[in-house]
C-alpha cells in the first residue's frame, strides 16, 4: 500500500497541502475535549475552572477510596465480562456458521449487524416493556443481555475476518479425515484464531464497559455501572472527581486495547495459500 500512496499523494498535487492542513486542524479538534479532561481532574479546587487552581491528586484519591465508585466499578466489571462472553460465543458461532453457507449470507449479515444502527433509547424501551410483560425485574443480567446484543456485531466482524484468514486446506483436511463438524470447529478452526478471539473479547468488553444507554435504563435499583454513575453524578454538577473517573476509564481502555493490538501484531495467523 505504501507504493500506492506516492501516486495518490502526488496526484492530488496542489490540493494535498490544504487537505492535510484541514486534517490536522480536525485532529486537534478531535483531541481538544479529551485533552481538557486530564487537567480538570488534577485541579486542586472543588470546582472546574481554567486555568486549574493548583495541581493535586486529591480527586483520584477520593474516587479510589469512595465505596460508591468501587461498587460501580465492580458491577461494571461483572456485567461487562458477562456481556462480552455472551457476545463472544454468539458472535463466533455466527461467524463460523456463515462460513458454511453457500447462499443467504447477505440477509443474515444484515440482520446480525443491525444492532449497530439501532437507537439505544428505543431498544431499552422495548426491552423494559418486555420485562414488565413477563414479570421480570431489571438486574445486572438484563444489562448484560442488552449489552451483549450490542457488542455481538463487533465480535462477528472481528472473528469473520480472522476466520477468513486461515488456510482453508487445514479444516478441509480434518473434514476429509473424518472429523465431525464440532471437532473441526473446536479442535481446528478456533485454535487457529485464538488471538483474534481474545482481541474480540477485549473489544467487546471495552464496548460493554463504556456503554451507557442500556446500563442507565435497565439498571437494577441496587446500583449502576461506572458510565451510569458518571451520568447521574454529572447531572448535578460537573466536579473534578468525575473528570478523575473519566481519566481512569480512558487509561484502562487504552492499556487494554493497546495491549491487545500489540498481541495481534505478533506472530501472524496462518495465512491462506496464495
Amino acid at each position: 500500500m505504501a507504493s500506492a500512496d506516492a501516486p495518490l499523494g502526488s496526484a492530488l498535487g496542489a490540493l494535498r497541502r490544504p487537505l492535510v492542513v484541514l486534517a490536522i486542524v480536525t485532529a486537534l479538534f478531535l483531541l481538544l475535549p479529551v485533552a481538557t479532561i486530564l487537567p480538570a481532574s488534577l485541579s486542586d479546587g472543588a470546582s472546574l475552572g481554567f486555568p486549574p487552581q493548583g495541581l493535586s491528586l486529591r480527586w483520584y484519591q477520593a474516587v479510589l477510596a469512595d465505596p460508591g465508585w468501587a461498587d460501580a466499578a465492580a458491577r461494571s466489571l461483572r456485567v461487562s465480562a458477562a456481556g462480552a462472553l455472551v457476545a463472544l460465543v454468539a458472535g463466533t458461532s455466527a461467524a463460523l456458521g456463515l462460513t458454511r453457507l453457500r447462499r443467504g449470507t447477505r440477509p443474515l449479515r444484515t440482520l446480525f449487524m443491525a444492532p449497530v444502527v439501532l437507537p439505544g433509547v428505543v431498544y431499552v424501551l422495548g426491552f423494559y416493556s418486555a420485562l414488565i410483560r413477563v414479570g421480570l425485574a431489571r438486574s445486572e443480567w438484563t444489562i448484560a443481555a442488552g449489552q451483549a446484543t450490542l457488542a455481538f456485531p463487533v465480535v462477528l466482524v472481528l472473528t469473520s475476518a480472522a476466520l477468513g484468514g486461515i488456510d482453508p486446506n487445514i479444516p478441509q483436511a480434518a473434514r476429509s479425515l473424518g472429523a465431525r463438524w464440532w471437532t473441526v470447529v473446536l479442535r481446528v478452526e478456533l485454535p487457529m484464531v485464538r488471538r483474534s478471539l481474545l482481541a474480540a473479547f477485549v473489544v467487546a468488553f471495552t464496548l460493554c464497559f463504556d456503554e451507557l444507554v442500556v446500563a442507565l435504563f435497565l439498571a437494577p435499583p441496587s446500583g449502576d455501572t461506572v458510565p451510569a454513575h458518571i451520568w447521574t453524578s454529572a447531572q448535578d454538577a460537573l466536579a473534578p472527581d468525575i473528570a478523575a473517573v473519566a481519566v481512569l476509564v480512558i487509561l484502562s481502555a487504552f492499556i487494554l486495547l493497546g495491549a491487545t493490538s500489540l498481541l495481534l501484531r505478533g506472530r501472524p495467523e496462518l495465512r491462506a495459500r496464495p
Binding site: A11, L12, F50, P119, V121
Partner: protein, 301 residues
C-alpha cells in the same frame, strides 16, 4: 506435508471447492453444522433484539400511542429538529471526514501515524467521556473561553455561552461521529486503483479533476456507507444532545428517553409510537443501503 497433501490432491480432483461449504452435487444448502452454529446467535437475537423491537410495536399499541404523539406539539418539532441536526452533522462530517481520509492516505509515515492515532483515540474513548470533555470545554471561565481569550478571538471581558444551547451541540456531535465517517472512507480509499490515477495524471488532469472524477468515485461505497452510518446514528442519538442541549433542544432520542424516564410506572405508548417510527425509518434506510454497500462493516474496528 502429509497433512495437506491428500486433501490438496482430492480438492484438485473435485475442482477445488471452498472447503467448508457443502459439496456440490449433494443438494445441501449449507455445510455441516451450519444450522447448529447459526441457531445460537439467531436465538439470542430473536430473544434480545427482535423481542424488544416487537414489544415497542406492541406498546405503541393500536392507534392510541400514535394519536397521543400526533397531538403532542413537542413531537413534531423534535422530529424536524432531529432531521436538520442529522443532515447538518452528516454534511459536516462528510467534508471533514473525506479530507481526513484523503490526508491519511497521502501523507508519509510520521504524520499519517499521528492522524491515525488521534482517530483511534477518539474511537477508543467512550461517547460519554468525549461528550463530558465538551461540557468541560464549554464551562464558563473554562478552557475554551480561556483559549479564545488567549488567541484574542474573543475580547477579554466577554464570556461564551455554549452549554445547553443548540449551536453547542454541533461540534460535539461532529466529534463523536467523525471516526464512523473516516474509517469506511479510508478503507475504501486504500483499495483505490493507482493505475487510473497515473493515467489521469499523465493525461494532464488537474488535481481537482483527479479528485472529483477518479479518486472519489472509487471511494463511493465507503463514502455512502459512512454517510448512512453517521446519519442513522445521529437520528437516534441520546447522550450528547441530552448532556449538551438545552430544555428546548429536544431530539427524537431525548424525547423518547425523557418520556420513558418520566412515566417509569405507566404508560409508554407515546414514546413507543415515536420510537417505533424512528426504528422503522432507521431499519428501512439501513437495509436498503446495506444491499448496495456494507454500511456497518466497511471499517476495520
Amino acid at each position: 506435508m502429509t497433512l495437506t497433501a491428500v486433501p490438496a490432491e482430492a480438492a484438485a480432483l473435485r475442482g477445488d471447492i471452498a472447503p467448508l461449504e457443502p459439496r456440490p452435487g449433494t443438494g445441501a444448502r449449507a455445510g455441516p453444522g451450519a444450522a447448529w452454529l447459526l441457531a445460537l446467535p439467531l436465538g439470542l437475537l430473536t430473544l434480545f433484539l427482535i423481542g424488544p423491537l416487537a414489544m415497542v410495536a406492541v406498546t405503541a399499541g393500536g392507534t392510541s400511542g400514535f394519536r397521543q404523539a400526533l397531538a403532542d406539539p413537542t413531537v413534531g418539532s423534535a422530529v424536524l429538529r432531529t432531521l436538520s441536526i442529522a443532515v447538518a452533522v452528516t454534511a459536516i462530517t462528510l467534508v471533514l471526514g473525506t479530507a481526513y481520509a484523503l490526508a491519511i492516505t497521502s501523507t508519509r509515515r510520521a504524520l499519517r501515524a499521528l492522524l491515525i492515532g488521534v482517530l483511534l483515540i477518539g474511537f477508543w474513548t467512550s461517547i460519554l467521556v468525549r461528550t463530558l470533555g465538551w461540557v468541560l470545554l464549554y464551562e464558563p471561565s473554562g478552557p475554551l473561553e480561556g483559549l479564545l481569550h488567549i488567541t484574542r478571538l474573543l475580547p477579554a471581558a466577554a464570556a461564551i455561552n455554549l452549554l445547553q444551547t443548540t449551536p453547542g451541540m454541533y461540534p460535539a456531535m461532529v466529534h463523536v461521529m467523525l471516526p464512523y465517517m473516516v474509517l469506511p472512507i479510508w478503507a475504501a480509499l486504500r483499495s483505490h486503483d493507482p493505475e487510473q490515477l497515473r493515467a489521469a495524471r499523465s493525461l494532464g488532469a488537474r488535481p481537482f479533476t483527479v479528485l472529483r472524477w477518479v479518486l472519489l468515485p472509487q471511494a463511493r461505497a465507503g463514502i455512502i456507507a459512512g454517510a448512512v452510518l453517521v446519519f442513522t446514528l445521529s437520528l437516534g442519538f441520546y447522550i450528547t444532545p441530552r448532556l449538551l442541549g438545552g430544555p428546548s433542544d429536544i431530539t427524537i432520542g431525548t424525547l423518547v428517553g425523557d418520556q420513558f424516564e418520566a412515566s417509569l410506572s405507566g404508560d409508554f405508548s407515546e414514546p413507543a409510537a415515536v420510537g417505533l417510527l424512528l426504528v422503522v425509518a432507521v431499519l428501512v434506510l439501513y437495509s436498503v443501503t446495506d444491499r448496495l454497500v456494507r454500511v456497518t462493516e466497511s471499517w476495520r474496528p
